[in-house]
């Protein structure tokens, strides 16, 4: 039987063999692997980027005090970004399933339409949820936009729900029965965490303080953007997002306020994306100088290459543009 960590190791080995960087989880609270800068920012611009990492993902509203066998305050995603998406990405993905013991002749493996959109990130893509015998085991998305910018070239994002996949592989009914290493169950490792985090998020959090934090994180994000420091600015955008999730879980946000909060997060994420692109442009898109790709890359036969697109974009913040105009 494959243990939880063996599952992670095999996925890492598979994707490392394809030429992916094995990154480490981002060290801030995020709701999904997509939000980590390794995905959200790196999917932007013309530079290649191939990465695999585990991302602990916090969803305060899903906290169930350790009582629900399927829902967790924090679960783990195995996140893969392939940019540009290789032509044989589906095949590479199916091979990763074989690597963890899913034989395509013994299961019904299917790609079922599922479009992905994140209103807080201003991002969307088309793709599928991948079904194994009717169960979703992976979210497979071709990014089309991030932070309101077109993704050119297009990245493929693969998000494996590690707990769910492992429950299936081990044939257990509760996440807490997953064997992490031989003799140690998920329960021993994470149950107390689930109980406490759920209590905090659903009962103990201080809504007033969270609201103040949201506002100061938001202001700090904007200040840093003005100082042309998009990376730390994005950290504060992530803190805003998590703070919003905590407020939401606490029921401290009314239906009408909700949309306004989401817009505030999205606006900042968008500015971070713009700042990041300006920074990469200034650096001369260093990764473009590498020949780093994974899998088979498509030839260019018809249609302009998407990378041309970035030569036509301007990422200067408004004030800088105005200054320049005044000077010029």
């Amino acid at each position: 039987m494959i243990t939880f960590q063996e599952l992670i190791l095999r996925l890492q080995t598979h994707w490392a063999a394809q030429g992916c960087i094995l990154a480490q989880p981002y060290d801030l609270e995020v709701g999904a692997g997509t939000m980590a800068p390794q995905t959200f920012l790196r999917a932007l611009g013309p530079e290649p980027w191939n990465v695999a990492y585990v991302q602990p993902s916090r969803r305060p509203a899903d906290g169930r005090f350790g009582e629900n066998p399927n829902r967790l305050f924090q679960h783990h995603q195995f996140q893969v970004i392939l940019k540009p998406a290789p032509k044989n990405v589906q095949q590479l993905y199916l091979e990763s399933l074989e690597a963890v013991g899913v034989d395509p002749m013994a299961h019904d493996l299917r790609f079922v339409e599922d479009d992905w959109e994140s209103p807080t990130l201003g991002a969307w893509g088309l793709g599928w949820e991948v079904w194994c015998d009717g169960m979703e085991v992976t979210q497979f998305t071709y990014f089309q936009q991030c932070g309101g910018f077109d993704c050119r070239p297009v990245s493929a994002e693969l998000t494996y729900g590690l707990e769910r996949l492992c429950m299936y592989l081990q044939g257990v009914e509760s996440v807490y029965d997953i064997e992490w290493v031989k003799g140690v169950k998920y329960r021993e490792v994470f149950h107390a965490n689930e109980v406490e985090m759920s209590k905090y998020a659903l009962h103990e959090s201080n809504a007033e303080q969270l609201q103040q934090l949201f506002s100061s994180y938001e202001a700090e994000c904007q200040r840093l953007l003005q100082r042309e420091l998009p990376l730390p600015a994005y950290d504060y955008a992530l803190k805003c997002s998590h703070t919003f999730n905590l407020l939401d879980a606490r029921g401290a946000i009314s239906v009408t306020e909700r949309a306004a909060y989401i817009k505030r997060v999205r606006d900042n994420a968008r500015l971070c994306a713009q700042g990041y692109l300006a920074m990469r442009e200034k650096l001369g898109y260093p990764l473009c100088k590498t020949k780093w790709t994974v899998g088979e890359q498509p030839a260019l036969l018809e249609g302009k290459p998407g990378s041309e697109y970035w030569k036509t974009q301007s990422f200067q913040p408004k004030e800088a543009k105005e200054k320049e105009a005044a000077r010029g």
């Binding site: 589906q90 034989d103 299917r110 015998d133 498509p298």
Partner: protein, 696 residues
Amino acid sequence: MADLLLELGSEELPASFLGPALDDLEKAFKAGCEAARLTHGPIARYGTPRRLALLVTQVADGTPDLQKEMNGPSVKAAFDAEGKPTQAATKFAAGHGLTVDQLVKVTTPKGEYLAARVQEKGKRALEILPAVLHATVHGINFKKSMRWGDVDLSYARPLHWIVALLGDEVVPVVFADVKSGRQTRGHRFLTKGPIDLARPGEYLAKLRAAKVEPDIAERKAQVKALVAKAAERAGGKLLEDEALVDQVTNLVELPCPVVGTFEARHLDLPPEVLIQEMKSHQRYFSVVGADGKLLPRFIAVSNTPVKDEAFSVKGYERVLRSRLSDGRFFFDEDRRLRLEERLPKLERVVWQGALGSYREKQVRMGALAKGLHAQLKSPAKLEHVLRAVELSKADLVTSMVGEFPELQGVMGREYARHDKEPEEVALAIAEHYLPRGASDGVPTRDEGALVGLAERFDTIAGIFGIGKGPSGAADPFALRRACLAVIRVTLERGYRYSLREQVSGALALLEPKLAAIKRKAGEPAVLDQVLDFFRGRLKALWSEAHRADVVEAVLTAGFDDLVAAHQRLTAISARVKQPEFEPLAATIKRVGNIVAKQAKDVARGAVDPSKLNDAAEKALAQAVAGAQGEVQGLLGKGAYAQALDRLTQLKPQVDAFFDQVMVMAEDKALRENRVRLLMQVSGLFETLADFSAISA
């Protein structure tokens, strides 16, 4: 002549995209051939999640030469006073590679023109098809499409191969990063490597050998037969669901049914919840026993004939198990609160921006339902109707409806039963949504029907009030469906009320919301817009089963009472088919014409018996007087056929009147008296229909 195959192979397409994409492909291909004058025979269409294909039979080897004549400037404009060609003439000739003396003169209805006769050379099919197929492939408009790699063209999902074969030759076509060839692919897991096609004719056989059924109709038939058989294997019979069959058909290349089981304890959940849980997320079919009740079994359709079904089915069961525990969790959680305790929450749920929350809508619905209840003298208890109005939208804020919006109404009914609300109220909460579509029945009781009517009058009046009524194909608030539902409920339940009164009542209640809405200058009043909208819907609906001119005639005579209007329509429609109708209609029309002409000079009024001197006019007056009371009685009873029969009996007297009496008499008093007599006649007929609208 040769066959042509075009196959576009891609990553898995959304199931709902296949049909529309094949329509687009076929249309674009036909248009391209027509423009290029290339003829072809019948086209077969194929599609699976991984491919869209056209197999075109009997494509001509090429096109014949064509003599084309193109008109240029008029002769007048082509030559100056000295007869020399003008610039217009030389330019036109040069445009076609000719000199002016090579042009010919042609006579058109607009006069004499210069024309160029050009010989268009015929081409071989292989020369024509690359451009036609290029346009065909680019002619698909997916509902949503995406870019991939580094190319800025888009398709529903990344494209992988194009097969384009005319006979045994490859037609060169390129889309994004894909070049056409002769290689297709079989089933993703059951076939390894590409498959060479020597010619289009091999397509079906080779794909079937490669474990793919490309023919959608055939695959659908297989799905149907296989799931029905599987349901028997599961010890029951299939709960038919055509839409699900269609969806599943386009989710697989090779249908393989799997029979699974769920825990019987879940059978105490409402069957709608179980069916929805199985179908909407999982696309499983439900199985029912001989008594029509759900069995704890399901049929899933796999795309791969797995090595060991018992092993793979565990996966399907596991997913459903966790879904059903979620469903049970929602059901239990939702029932902790009574529906009425959810009402304050509805205050914060916006129905429509300018028209306020669901709670506000509900208050208006209550007033309308109360009015209808009185008007119809409904035997239902008013308190039940009002309670149903109050609770009708409360399930919108339950977790179950949040998860499955399709279950709105059904969950309201279940939760109301749980709350021990009267059964009439519970039923009305579910039934007020009926009919949702053409295949649905109408509510079985007044309670649900009145709530539904009240809701729809408020919706239609409100949305027209804020200027968002349907226009062209756009109907964002589904008002056409709402209007049809009002018509069907009213007719099928035989409700007699004034449409105008209901709509003005709804508008009056909406007034505080609508007061601030700015109207366009010259725009008709909202009430008239709504009534006109109803008229249009009635006309469309009734013209399906009746002659359009008869429908028009009946609607012109009024439709304020929908039931009466429909009865008049049925009565007249039945008579129209009979041979004696035509002369009758002619007589009525003649009366109508005279009345219409004199209407501005002669006021309607009583006929003065002292001024009747002719025998025929006396007879007619007597007949009219005799008929009037009787006809009104019949109309009052809604006996329109008999009323029409009774009126028909007036025909001989009217005819005799026209034969023997001069309407336009010299004497003004005499003339007016005769016109008034005809006005009475026409007035009697007008209550039934505008006979002038009926064509002979």
